[in-house]
């Protein structure tokens, strides 16, 4: 088995107009910047993007939004140090926004990957974000029913990957990445290093390769934070 691909452009080549795409990361940590930039180069538009945030500065997700490729964003916190790209489009009514509490977003994605179509959570009960959602009482407390969340594609970032698609992550860059890997029709992972099968200790595999479709190596991945401090703009 060999899920490795030689280039970023090949990795994103199958993503067409109107696709839904989960993009890993929490802020810049764990954000697959190079895959996002390859997606910008590839050109699909009218995308629905699922991410915790709405990008920062003019690189990565912010650049994808700035290029007008994103029709709808599903996220928990569309604010950042430099949120201008998203904010301007949102206030101009040019991008749709679905706000989801962060834990609910994570659980909806997990549920999507786990074959659980709906679940109940205490989060958002009694708030505007629960409007229109079924509520049920369990053991004297109220809970809101939330639906699973799936996507056509997931773009994620790992540390090590092997030809079977087994992945490890680096520190807090793990965040949404393992969940999104499970919840997408096709999961594309960029990793800092592709190693031969067997080199990742099975005890240390975080995302088993069954959840991953392709792996591409980006040896020295850029950090959104570093790029923004340099004032980088993509493309």
């Amino acid at each position: 088995m060999d899920k490795t691909l030689p280039s970023l452009s090949e990795a994103v080549a199958g993503i067409g107009d109107g696709s839904s795409i989960m993009i890993g990361g929490f802020g810049g940590s764990g954000a697959p910047i190079e895959l996002i930039h390859a997606l910008i180069d590839a050109g699909p538009k009218n995308l629905t993007v699922i991410n915790n945030n709405a990008g920062n500065g003019h690189v990565g997700l912010a650049a994808l939004i700035e290029q007008g490729r994103v029709a709808k964003l599903i996220c928990s916190f569309p604010r950042s140090a430099d949120p201008k790209v998203f904010t301007d489009l949102y206030l101009a009514g040019k991008i749709e926004l679905e706000i989801v509490p962060q834990g609910t977003l994570a659980e909806r994605i997990r549920a999507g990957g786990a074959g659980i179509p709906a679940f109940y959570t205490p989060s958002s009960y009694g708030t505007d974000l629960a409007e229109g959602k079924p509520v049920e009482e369990f053991d004297g407390k109220h809970y809101v029913r939330e639906r699973w969340l799936k996507a056509d594609f997931a773009l994620i970032k790992g540390e090590l990957g092997d030809p079977f698609g087994n992945l490890t992550y680096r520190m807090a860059a793990r965040n949404f990445n393992p969940l999104m890997a499970m919840a997408a029709g096709q999961t594309i992972a960029q990793v800092s290093k592709i190693v031969p099968a067997g080199e990742i200790d099975p005890e240390h595999v975080v995302t088993p390769g069954i959840f991953v479709d392709s792996v591409v190596q980006v040896a020295d991945p850029k950090q959104e934070e570093t790029l923004n401090r340099e004032g980088a703009v993509y493309p």
Partner: protein, 228 residues
């Protein structure tokens, strides 16, 4: 009245200091982004507190020195952090299992308004702009204690402790204690119970800047906080 309050009220750092005194040794704690993060600065000597950040770290420590940041290692406020011995990483679903599943001892959040029934409004002013909730609606559920730190009144002098929130709710009946710039108040059975107040303010003056009835127990302790 408002001007007079400004001269006696605690600074944000002092409110954070007071809240830190109640965090017991061995506690698992989530500090909300912004103001609540300051509480970690005032952790009393000799206590070991394990801090949780919802983006997937337990046991983080102080900020790194400038230039030593690793941007894969950040907290929920997207600030660089370091790890303490015994730290652990996990993904977002596990992280929020720790929150909603009742595994945290304490969550501390900021507030626009807190109501006497424990309702909290802290995510949206309801005045338009870009809505953003983050983890706030999850963090108010599950921790054994959910505390708020806040100024006692708004910049205009309006009470932030109210009978019922008028701003969009973050959660219902979730707050158990409020540390303000003038007092420490518990929420018990749908009422405020005053535990401590600054000795420089009378009960009546405190009640006058509080939007709901302050009940009292047998004693009201002095809220005494060092200059920090």
């Amino acid at each position: 009245m408002s001007d007079a309050l400004d001269t006696i009220k605690l600074s944000n750092a002092q409110i954070a200091w007071r809240a830190a005194q109640d965090i017991e040794d061995g506690a698992y704690v989530n500090l909300g982004i912004g103001f609540p993060e300051m509480i970690a600065t005032f952790q009393p000597e000799g206590r070991e507190v394990i801090y949780h950040t919802e983006n997937g770290v337990l046991g983080f420590g102080k900020a790194p020195a400038k230039g030593e940041e690793d941007w894969d290692l950040i907290n929920a406020g997207k600030k660089a952090i370091t790890l303490n011995p015994g730290a652990a990483f996990f993904h977002h679903a596990d992280s929020f299992s720790m929150v909603r599943g009742g595994h945290l001892d304490l969550a501390v959040l900021g507030a626009y308004q807190v109501a006497e029934n424990g309702d909290l409004a802290n995510w949206s002013t309801g005045k338009g702009g870009v809505p953003a909730v983050g983890g706030a609606m999850d963090l108010v559920h599950g921790a054994k204690r959910v505390a708020v730190i806040t100024d006692h009144v708004t910049k205009k002098g309006d009470p932030k402790l109210v009978e019922r929130c008028t701003m969009p709710l973050t959660g219902v009946g979730c707050v158990t204690r409020v540390y303000t710039s003038l007092a420490v108040v518990d929420i018990v059975d749908g009422h405020y119970v005053l535990l401590e107040k600054l000795p420089q303010i009378s009960f009546d003056d405190l009640q006058a800047v509080t939007g709901a009835v302050l009940k009292t127990g047998e004693t009201i302790a002095d809220l005494v906080v060092p200059e920090v």
